[in-house]
Amino acid sequence: MTSQVSSPAEQADGTDETVVGAQRKPAGAKDVRRLDRVIIRFAGDSGDGMQLTGDRFTSETASFGNDLSTLPNFPAEIRAPAGTLPGVSSFQLHFADHDILTPGDAPNVLVAMNPAALKANVGDLPRGAEIIVNTDEFTRRAMQKVGYDTSPLEDGSLDGYRLHPVPLTTLTVEALTEFDLSRKEAERSKNMFALGLLSWMYHRPTEGTEKFLKSKFAKKPDIAAANIAAFRAGWNFGETTEDFAVSYEVAPAGSAFEPGTYRNISGNLALAYGLIAASRQADLPLFLGSYPITPASDILHELSKHKNFGVRTFQAEDEIAGIGAALGAAFGGSLAVTTTSGPGVALKSETIGLAVSLELPLLVVDIQRGGPSTGLPTKTEQADLLQAMYGRNGEAPVPVVAPRTPGDCFDAALEAARIALTYRTPVFLLSDGYLANGSEPWRIPEPDELPDLAVQFAQGPNHTLDDGTEVFWPYQRDPHTLARPWAVPGTPGLEHRIGGIEKQDGTGNISYDPANHDFMVRTRQAKIDGIEVPALDVDDPDGGARTLVLGWGSTYGPITAAVRRIRKEGGRIAQAHLRHLNPFPPNLGEILDRYDKVVVPEMNLGQLATLIRAKYLVDARSHNQVNGMPFKAEQLAAVLKEAIDG
């Protein structure tokens, strides 16, 4: 056995790839090495089934008990031209025997199903990484299509890597000769062959995938059997072929997890579940008005499956009707939600303004993607923060809540619902494409751990006129929260009219009175400013840091990984991460004052930094990346280190 320990790769999460032990299986078996973490990237054509392959490997890994984090990355086109660079779809998975925070910076293993997949991804690999290529696809024509004049498998350009040339297509077709399938049909199972091979390499459990294939192709048992056969053939190929001398174990991450029952969950799924949970906790029916848009549509799909929870889903004729219907349902007493992405928010702006004026609870879920305009539909970005804050006519403040990890989308949805219901206001929930499609292990909460969101509808008069008459005033506010009563149609005696025209304080009648307008504008602002949000926690282990890194939303993973790296090298840095962007936590100003330097990494051109600088007069330094991808921990660590030292 030759030693195949890789050179220390540039890795995320502040831990280098290390071999933590080696053991030999009984006579005749191959070497087994134990690793503490691995990053795998599956890459192929959009039609090669890479997302499915990645999902299955993730499920196997989750049920094995590793901590994990995923990064699906695919083009907006459903089937981009085959074999081209723009058509490459990939799925990256980072799994470990300890707590990890990101999908990893650089893969240890790349599975490249064709020359385009190799070319598009090889630049991300550290020297020494393993590359498994499907040699069947490395034809002259296919290589020329992506600009390879000579074969990279033979011209020495991959000498720095551990290359495994495998005729994946041929092996798959051979494995399926006994099935009554055309060659084309048989070839389609090559992703399962690759999955089988990787499952062998990393000792993944296989029952889940076989069960999955049986149920996915329940109506086509032949196809199910063929896929299972290809999957097993891939596994057996790993075990028998000389080329794969070593397999790896990554132990379960038991100590990384609090006790509890876990599952793997993506951000959009967690968000959908959070909405259903909020509806139950508020004892209000859930109404979703939505128009399909990437990367938010999965929430519509998911909620439409759960009508037995009393969930009404309305696929509207456009974005405006989606939020309009939701607002109508809110008027009727539903927990109303609209889901969209940036371009949809632009269309909904006028209705959000109406909701501000009507002071009705409404959740506006924005799964941010690259912009402006259509931008990068399938890539991530955080550039809708200022749109959420200010993208309306007039003074129209809206609270903003942002989740930090896929699983956190569940809690963020409940928190957004709490604010909307307590303060009778639209609330922005700003997720993004990275959280939406990425996944991680999630501790399943018990329903009795969830917050109480009980709501009291108005039942009777709330004001006495000078002549002693008891009346209902729709804009008579709760003195503590400044929320107005929620009087739903069907309640006798509370008939009232509301609208987008400025209304008189208290009565809600149309009013063009200058002083009243000034008062109402300030009151609506004061209501949002006065929303009670938890104080911000700062992670500053010994209190000795002079530099604070402040983030929001999905950058939590990469920032935390970068902070760990710095601390591991003895550096001192404090970290804080915002869930509430409007209003800010009450102690934010005081925290900012404590540090000499404040660095704000964002996947935009400095939107939070702009808000921080304006509100707190702090010389916040912006670090920005807008390439449609999450930050890499290593690069971020270098930036933070520079800030500390600089």
């Binding site: 499920s59 049920s63 599952r263 929870f309 009404r312 405006i320 009707a321 009219r497 609208g499």
Partner: protein, 352 residues
């Protein structure tokens, strides 16, 4: 219509006797003196006690425009929303609250220009909404620009050399959008307007009522042809289900079908052709004849304008279907169990 009653029965009835006064809010009506909207408001307020529904279960939703101030004057629940969006907002309300009687008040600009998309989609879905489209063929609140129902060549502030766009015929448009109930009436004909409201309220699903309404400031007299006693006899075709379509002095004129093209035409009724006069069938499954009737009116002169219920057919109602799906889901999967949902099928346990 058995189904009509079934849907209306979901809305609680008024306990005591209601009067028109019960439906007047305490707000001062602020339309221009002489505006046709006053007559429509009075007709609606007068009709509501006949309908006899609990006031608190009635909601008026409007968009933007002169007519859209309507909800402020009704002592029911109401929402004055934003331009063109009332059908969308009302859809969410009606679909989530079947115990409400939801009415939309809109105008030709609100419903057919900025809100055209929402109108046609509400109609195709057949949401249980009653849409009152006040058509004055002009923009009033923005002080006199041409609207999507203005005649070609109309001189307005924004079209000093005459407008270029061909107008919509709202009834034709609604029929094309799969409307299950389409009617037309006139602001000044209280009796006719009330009768159309009654039939609309009874209809399960979306009912669109186009109401010709006079804007005495920016488009005064737009419908005089239909109101002037002498002219109206020849200009207005009053449709009544099951009756031959005749109009003019002593019913001298009638509508027949051209057997060659299938189109409709106006004839002077004679002993020879009397048997060929078309009998109005508002419940015809096909919208073809209703559409042909909607095309009889001359968009410029309004001659041969049919009023009354052009089409009233029953088809599945969106809110009912949505509600049925919720019931079916519970029957099939049981009432939702949050703990089971969150756990899913693939879990593992970490012990401390």
């Amino acid at each position: 219509m058995a189904d009509a009653n079934a849907l209306l029965q979901l809305v609680p009835k008024a306990e005591g006797r209601q009067s028109m006064k019960d439906f007047k809010s305490d707000q001062e009506v602020r339309w221009c003196p002489g505006c046709g909207d006053y007559a429509i408001l009075a007709a609606v307020q007068g009709f509501m006690p006949q309908l006899g529904l609990a006031r608190e279960n009635i909601v008026f939703v409007s968009g933007i425009g002169c007519s859209s101030r309507f909800p402020y004057y009704m002592n029911t629940y109401g929402m004055h929303s934003i331009h063109g969006r009332a059908p969308a907002i009302a859809t969410g309300l009606a679909a989530s609250r079947r115990d409400l009687s939801v009415w939309v008040v809109t105008g030709d600009g609100d419903a057919l220009s900025i809100g055209g998309n929402h109108l046609i989609h509400a109609l195709r879905r057949n949401v249980n909404l009653k849409i009152l489209l006040f058509n004055n063929r002009i923009y009033g609140l923005t002080k006199g620009q041409y609207s999507p129902t203005s005649e070609v060549g109309k001189i307005t502030k924004s079209t000093p050399m005459g407008s270029l766009d061909a107008p919509f015929n709202p009834v034709s448009l609604a029929l094309g959008a799969e409307a299950s109930f389409v009617a037309r009436t006139v602001d000044s004909d209280r009796k006719h307007l009330t009768e159309v409201l009654r039939q609309a309220a009874d209809h399960p699903g979306t009912a669109l009522i186009e109401i010709y309404q006079n804007c005495n400031i920016f488009n005064d007299g737009a419908f005089d042809t239909l109101k002037d006693r002498e002219q109206a006899e020849d200009a207005v075709i009053r449709l009544e289900h099951g009756q031959p379509i005749r109009f003019g002095t002593d019913g001298a004129k009638g509508v027949v079908r051209d057997p060659r093209t299938g189109d409709l035409e106006i004839v002077t009724v004679t002993a020879d052709n009397e048997a060929d006069i078309l009998v109005h069938d508002a419940h015809a499954a096909s919208p073809t004849t209703a559409f042909a009737l909607s095309r009889l009116a001359d968009p410029d002169t309004l001659h041969h304008t049919p009023i009354g219920v052009l089409r009233s057919v029953e088809r599945p109602v969106y809110d009912t279907l949505m509600s049925d799906q919720l019931d079916t889901a519970v029957e099939q999967h049981g009432k939702g169990d949050l703990a089971a949902l969150l756990a899913g099928n693939d879990t593992w346990t970490v012990v401390g």
